[in-house]
Symmetry: C2
Subunit: 454 residues, 2 copies
């Protein structure tokens, strides 16, 4: 067995043993097994189980672990489980959770439940959360924790060291303490590593990194993730417009953003919701997939009505009907290659105003070059197959047109969608395929009608 | 301007200014601008520039920054630039680079260049790198650094604190020091935060976390990334089969793995290479995209030859030809939805042996349910459009068959491919579309032939 399968295997074995115990009704045994597991492992098992098993497992879970497990679950399943809990249990489960995670959970609750959960909280927690909820979703503020430890610049390190020892602990994933002035404006950062390695008689100011970059609280979370990736940060301070320290963002939340964005690109291109639950119930899943299929039905009917324009040609030449799917298909694949490239380029921050014209030009050139190569190939293939050179030339010509359009549209459509603030990862594929289908059919059937019908 | 566009805007402005300076031949000015930028920003600008601009920029870059810039570049562009450098400059640029990054670069070099780069290195660097290169690509070993700081368990913290102060610095992204026994086996970990907050008279053993998980050196890097994500680690020790400490993996390398895998899923589904260079040269890009288009041409010809079987029907009924793209199109979209879900489930480690049968069953059920809904809709649509109830019933029947198959195939194909160790993200989409095209055409044209031809 390849070593990389071991971890998955361990989960599989656990699942198998859990299922066995569940199946034979040994609920106490299951409860004990769950009690010994880390919250993140239980979350994984819940994600990997069909609805009925989940339901039973959820009942058997230690209420003390509920909060941590919820934190580790995907959005879809998390929502589902929370909606079944009483507001009091939600409040209890989420007490002590990181502010950003707590806000994230509350944000997704229905209004009535949300208010009741807030009421069930301690006043301190409520204040903390209401503050966090005031930042819009998908901004730095929404993934920020408020558990920062701050230092003053003109203190010596030995004082800091004594203070930390009195404090007794530091928040999770603390790698840097922030140095602030009297108005809480960030002056720099001191890494824990430097606190340990520098001379204790030095001052904070002398060892701090004054170039420490701060993140504006309203910056988009994708932007934040790009900064973390580019600079290999573990944490970064978040500031308001005056440079006042509001909190910090840690790499674990950034990893979640990266994961979400990646899921979004991949699932979005297939017309699925980012966080669709792999083992969710059938009816709910069916409903959620209908929007995309509805749009596609219209696109397919549009393509069919293009063919309908050429009914006369199709009536006379069955061969045209037989071959007519080839041109749209090749255009679709070529266009999708370009689309994927451009969407990723946008996501990585490589594509912007300054170079989008060049990019469209390049993809247009590739489309034409591709068109030449493949029209030649399909010309030869069809000529040999149908023993009809004219037919080969027709389909080749249509292919050249469609692949050129595909290159242009594959780059142009996502850039255009982005300009209108429509997410290219979501809408791009469907718009593109419609274009390449319609143009491909038009080109082939049009050329055929022009040259074959007299 | 939305705040999330600010960072992108800054890069765009810089690019614009750089381009302006380049265009007017102010190379000294450009060199100065580059000199003041961080390596990661220069890398971003290189990634975002067309080939010619890149070439000029690359000449103007400070050789001292070359190594850091290379580290931050995408694989495709990095390879391209390194192949233009002399072995000596590569050796110079990569001196002092993290072992894993250095090994990563060397791994991608052509053999001749690779050997000459190794020869140009200091013997110490060479040893370090040859060790790193002995671990297979895509394993924990290949993303591991060897710069660990280790402690003995029976020493008091004040001794450690004195040692660290003498040492003067710690490797980047160090959050935990590893506690090892005399044979270098990992006993636990001490977080820097604990060193700062605990009583200095305590022993290492008393404050260390004995439950610290170690990563086997042969574990797959995707697996490693899943562990980091699940447990919110910043770093983790890597051990050999005897539990001996070999090095450590840090979150920045894990983020690269997550990014690569995400790109792989998204780009792979469109038939693109993971790290395809958005602004790469036209000819190279065209060549790289041909494999997928070749495969698709065969798939399209296969679909055409299915239609060819029903030439007689198509000859007699042009309407059948007009409508025949609808069924494959809907099946393709429905199948792709399932495919994306399952591929993501596999990537997250949620789908395994124990639940794959359930998953296929669920997707089959969704496919049938979808099939019922959409066959009814298309039945009505076609009946109204073509004023032909029988035709509507035919296309509806074919739709039901194809969408049921699409659900089954969308889940079954990636699971089957995975079983044969073929990457489902790469091959899945093409195989699936071929299946839904062929079955869709077969079902519709077959039913039409059966019921309309006498």
């Amino acid at each position: 067995m390849p070593v990389e399968a071991i971890e998955a295997e361990v989960t599989a074995q656990r699942l198998a043993r859990l299922n066995q115990a569940l199946g034979s009704g040994m609920f106490v045994h299951v409860r004990n097994m769950l009690h010994d597991m880390a919250a993140s492992d239980i979350a994984l098992i819940l994600e990997s189980s069909p609805p009925r098993t989940r339901q039973v497992l959820w009942q058997l879970i230690d209420t003390q672990q509920t909060g941590e497990i919820l934190e580790a679950l995907g959005e879809d399943l998390k929502d589902h489980l929370i909606r079944q809990m009483s507001p009091e249990s939600v409040a209890r489960a989420t007490a002590g959770m990181d502010t950003d995670d707590l806000a994230y959970i509350l944000r997704s609750l229905p209004d009535a439940l949300y208010k009741r959960v807030l009421q069930s909280m301690s006043s301190q927690d409520r204040l903390r959360v209401e503050q966090a909820l005031s930042y819009p979703d998908d901004t730095a503020g929404s993934i920020m924790n408020t558990d920062t430890v701050t230092l003053r610049p003109d203190v010596n390190l030995d004082v800091i060291l004594r203070y930390l020892r009195q404090r007794g602990s530091l928040p999770d994933t603390t790698d840097t303490l922030y140095v602030v002035d009297k108005r809480d404006r960030v002056l720099g950062g001191v890494r824990l590593a430097d606190l340990l390695t520098c001379d204790p008689t030095a001052s904070v100011r002398s060892i701090m990194d004054p170039e420490l970059e701060s993140i504006p609280v309203a910056m988009g979370d994708t932007e934040v993730a790009q900064l973390f990736e580019r600079h290999d940060w573990v944490s970064a301070p978040v500031v308001d417009e005056q440079g006042k320290l509001l909190g910090r963002i840690t790499i674990d939340d950034v990893v979640d953003v990266i994961r979400e964005n990646a899921d979004h690109s991949m699932m979005g291109m297939a017309g699925m919701e980012d966080d669709a639950d792999t083992f969710g119930p059938v009816l709910k899943s069916t409903l959620r997939r209908s929007l995309w299929l509805t749009i596609n039905l219209f696109a397919a009917l549009l393509a069919a009505s293009v063919s309908n324009l050429f009914e006369g040609t199709l009536e006379q030449f069955a061969t045209i009907a037989i071959l007519m799917t080839i041109v749209p298909s090749m255009g679709g694949v070529a266009g999708n290659q370009t689309l994927a490239l451009v969407i990723r380029g946008i996501a990585l921050g490589h594509v912007g105003q300054s170079n989008s014209r060049w990019l469209i030009g390049k993809e247009l050139a590739i489309g034409m070059l591709n068109g030449l190569v493949w029209s030649l190939l399909v010309f030869v293939a069809v000529w040999l197959w149908k023993n009809d050179m004219a037919l080969g030339a027709l389909i080749g010509g249509a292919m050249l047109i469609n692949m050129t359009v595909a290159g242009f549209a594959g780059a142009g459509i996502p850039l255009l969608l982005k300009k209108f603030n429509i997410d290219p990862a979501l809408a791009g594929g469907m718009v593109l395929t419609t274009v390449t289908d319609v143009i491909g059919l038009f080109a082939f059937l049009g050329l055929a009608t022009l040259f074959l019908m007299h």
